[in-house]
Amino acid sequence: MRYLPLTPSDRQAMLGVIGAKSIDDLFVDVPAQARLDGPIQGLPNHASEMAVERHFSELARKNMTASHNPFFLGAGAYKHHVPASVDHIIQRGEFLTAYTPYQPEIAQGTLQMLFEFQTQVARLFGCDVANASMYDGSTACWEAIGMAGRITKRTKALLSSGLHPHYVSVAKTMAQYTGDRLDTALPELSAQTDSARLLDVIDDDTSCVVVQYPDILGRIEDMSAIAAKAHAHGALLIAVVTEPVALGAIKAPGEMGADIVVGEGQSLGVGLQFGGPYVGLFACKEKFVRQMPGRLCGETVDADGKRGFVLTLSTREQHIRREKATSNICTNSGLCALAFSIHLTLLGEKGLRELASLNHALAVQAADRLSQIPGVELVNDSFFNEFTLHLPKEARPVVRALADRKILGGVSLGRLYPGADSLSNGLLVAVTETATSADVETFAAALQEILT
């Protein structure tokens, strides 16, 4: 077997050294009734690399890929073109097969990268500091709510109706156990968000207000007033960014007073990957740093006085604090953070701004084109690269009908909000630099045909 270096004669020799007659002697502590005599039944034996590759090829061919079809899905996961050098670098064994950098002398590559990543994320979000990444945006969002609770010692969190429904679900799941109270609502298919509602209910029990920016329907709204009111009541503003490319075109949440900014970093470097692994981004004001969850990389010096980097503030973490830790998290999304950081380094300020402009311009053109279709209305006044259409009929079967024509035509709100009749005609359409005008035209023509 190709991954196992021991030969039968090695095994014999080693058993001899150990003083065991057979391998079974080493499993003597397993209760007899739990010992299996041979390979587990009902499972195949080992397969050649060629056979495995062929099996996966066959499965892969059953999926409709984003690159080979007109593609307009978003809703928290965006298709962007990732430069080939990103994947090349993350596949270097020294990054791919390295361990968590607990031994900093031989992990400076990972550590310096994380320090650069933290700085990039903090700057992008307009915050003082950022951590070394979380599992994904949805768990980062929940961790931020928990962190706000620890800081404010309050348990009531107000969630904007524009927050991604999966993020809301994750928070609801967790809140069942922690005793947090969540105030949430369904979004409305209108150009306005529910910021009026939020402003109305912020009170002295509120730990935090959670606002997505741009929101689940693609709308962009100034969060400054919410920040001001929250701060006046001793509450925090948590901003959630699921499309970081937008921040090349619009103000950073930190500029508007957000205390914690979390996000999904998948857009840069990571790719769609059917939902994971992704990379959670987490940034905040400096004064809250000791309440942050997750790993942090910090600068220091070595015994020769040379600059170097280490994981730091680990007294917050589970392996030191055990049941008193700020989080049970033990893993970040290091390799995805690397991909994110490389992509952002390649883009730089100039490239990110150009990429954002390009996304926005193409989305504007597409929105105009699609809303020309009889019966189709554009819900948004404002948007970045994603917007909501109100269709004259239920959107979910329309999406399926488009798929039959090899068009991946957006995400129906029916999929995101099952059972919410008020939203079922909504279709979320994302347009990135990967969509050609021919793609838009194909999509528009098919949509018109399906709707009539």
Partner: protein, 491 residues
């Protein structure tokens, strides 16, 4: 050559990406156009490739050498798995595409689920947890949901002293008080003490088996029976499944929930700290409470059971743990690994892992104290203590000395039940020759520590950095780069 930070070598005007020109449109950004600079440096593509290539060479990695990390299972990462994960049909698919367009992707999840269930002898598996600790949370939430469903609020989770820190942290997060279970002199759970503590307030126990001392919990079945009899559930930390895969099915030991670190047992790459993936297998008692979404098969078609469809046959789910469906990229890799080994090969994995660990134990026990070696063979990892080192010499010195010998240190100071613990896990993907060399190197370092060789105190000398000042880092944390206040003189 030292590698500067991107902020020191990049400029805002440089980019390594060419883009089509944006068409001119009136912007609809809600009057929130960004005016301030972000402060992101750019590098051209050649500079970028060189920066990260050079950085990478400051790392140690499994591709470069042996990683004897107990409890962390650093094994070979086959490149086939990387290739498979990058097939467009998996990498380039959106999680919210209509299920008709992602049948192959759902098929991967379902096939992997089938393997995991069968290998563990359990009833169901929750695939969405994103890491081991996330999986622990899933298991504990399932226990909590099951107890809630029967109207039986309980408040305590029991953990052995030797547990991973994530265990108590997870239990605490789910609202439980955590109490320790003492260990026997043989490094195992004290069954009598456990039984004595069980009662109507105990929701369950969290056990690691094989445990973090590298020993199989001989009384596991009795433990499970006692916990069940007392109305609780048994959670097993699956971090050490590598030792028993294919030889023991946790379901046969009475376990109710166990996470599986795909990056440990099934070799998805650690990537410098993640991403991980932690599916949780569940017993029949807990299966009804598994989180959403999950994949089901209906005739030839795979279905995704989400919030809307769950009601029909999975209404007791405790809810959703993540956006989307989990770590697809890790599923493809793990499934490729599992299929490559097959049922016969996975059994061989456990055997070789245990054989290698005992080879190491035997090769070192005369120079390093092995506190539990008297009680019999170890499983997949060998545990040593710092007893017998010269005064002022510690496990840390041995660890740093190993770096100069060309190895990553073993796991140190864990588990806490042994003083100055050194936990060594060779895994099945190391050759006899590698183990032999490593034993020689560690013997030499251990003898220096016992003899009080002062040069050991300044190790490592041959690493990219000498010992780093962690105290300074924590006292005044510098977590982001800032422009030096006094700009350096122009070239």
């Amino acid at each position: 050559l030292e590698e500067a930070l991107i902020f020191e070598i990049g400029t805002a005007g440089t980019t390594g990406v060419d883009l089509a020109e944006a068409p001119k449109v009136a912007s609809r950004l809600g009057n929130l156009e960004r005016h301030r600079d972000i402060g992101l440096p750019g590098l051209s593509e050649p500079e970028t490739v060189r920066h990260y290539t050079r950085l990478s060479r400051q790392n140690y990695a499994i591709d470069l050498g042996f990683f004897p990390l107990g409890s962390c299972t650093m094994k070979h990462n086959p490149r086939l798995n990387e290739k498979v994960a990058r097939m467009a049909g998996f990498a380039d698919v959106h999680p919210l595409q209509p299920v008709e367009t992602v049948q192959g992707a759902l098929g991967v999840i379902h096939e992997l689920a089938h393997w995991l269930i069968t290998l563990t002898g359990m009833k169901a598996v929750a695939m969405s947890p994103k890491a081991g600790a996330h999986g622990e949370l899933c298991g504990i939430l399932a226990i909590r949901a099951a107890l809630t469903a029967r109207g039986d609020a309980r408040s305590v989770i029991l953990c052995p002293e030797s547990a991973h820190g994530t265990n108590p942290a997870t239990a605490a997060f789910a609202g439980y008080a955590v109490e320790n279970i003492p260990a026997t002199s043989e490094g195992r759970v004290d069954l009598a003490a456990l039984k004595a503590r069980l009662g109507p307030d105990v929701a369950g126990v969290m056990i690691t088996n094989p445990n973090t001392c590298g020993l199989f919990e001989r009384d596991m079945r009795d433990i499970s029976d006692a916990v069940h009899a007392a109305g609780g559930y048994v959670y097993c930390d699956g971090a050490n499944f590598n030792a028993i895969v294919g030889r023991v099915r946790p379901g046969d030991l009475g376990i109710d929930a166990m996470h599986i670190n795909l990056h440990k047992t099934f070799s998805t790459p650690h990537g410098g700290g993640g991403p991980g993936s932690g599916p949780v297998v569940l017993s029949a008692a807990l299966a009804p409470y598994a989180p959403l979404p999950f994949v089901d098969k209906d005739g030839d078609q795979y279905q995704l059971v989400e919030e809307e469809t769950a009601g029909e046959h999975h209404g007791s789910s405790f809810g959703r743990m993540v956006a989307f469906h989990g770590q697809m990229g890790m599923f493809t890799r793990a499934l490729a690994y599992i299929m490559s080994h097959g049922a016969d090969g996975l059994r061989q994995v456990a055997e070789d892992a245990v054989l290698n660990a005992n080879y190491i134990l035997r090769g070192l026990e005369d120079v390093l104290e092995a506190p539990f070696a008297h009680s019999g063979p170890c499983m997949h990892e060998a545990l040593f203590s710092d007893n017998g080192l010269a005064d002022g010499y510690s496990t840390l010195d041995i660890a740093k000395g190993l770096i100069d010998e060309g190895y990553h240190p073993m796991t140190v100071y864990f588990p806490l039940v042994v003083h100055g613990a050194m936990l060594i896990e060779p895994t099945e993907t190391e050759s006899k020759a590698t183990l032999h060399q490593f034993i020689g190197a560690l013997r030499s370092v251990a003898q220096r520590a016992k003899a009080g060789d002062p040069s050991l105190k300044s190790a490592p000398k041959y690493a990219p950095r000498r010992r780093l000042d962690e105290t300074q880092a924590a006292r005044k944390p510098v977590l982001v780069w800032r422009e030096p206040e006094h700009a350096v003189a122009a070239e």
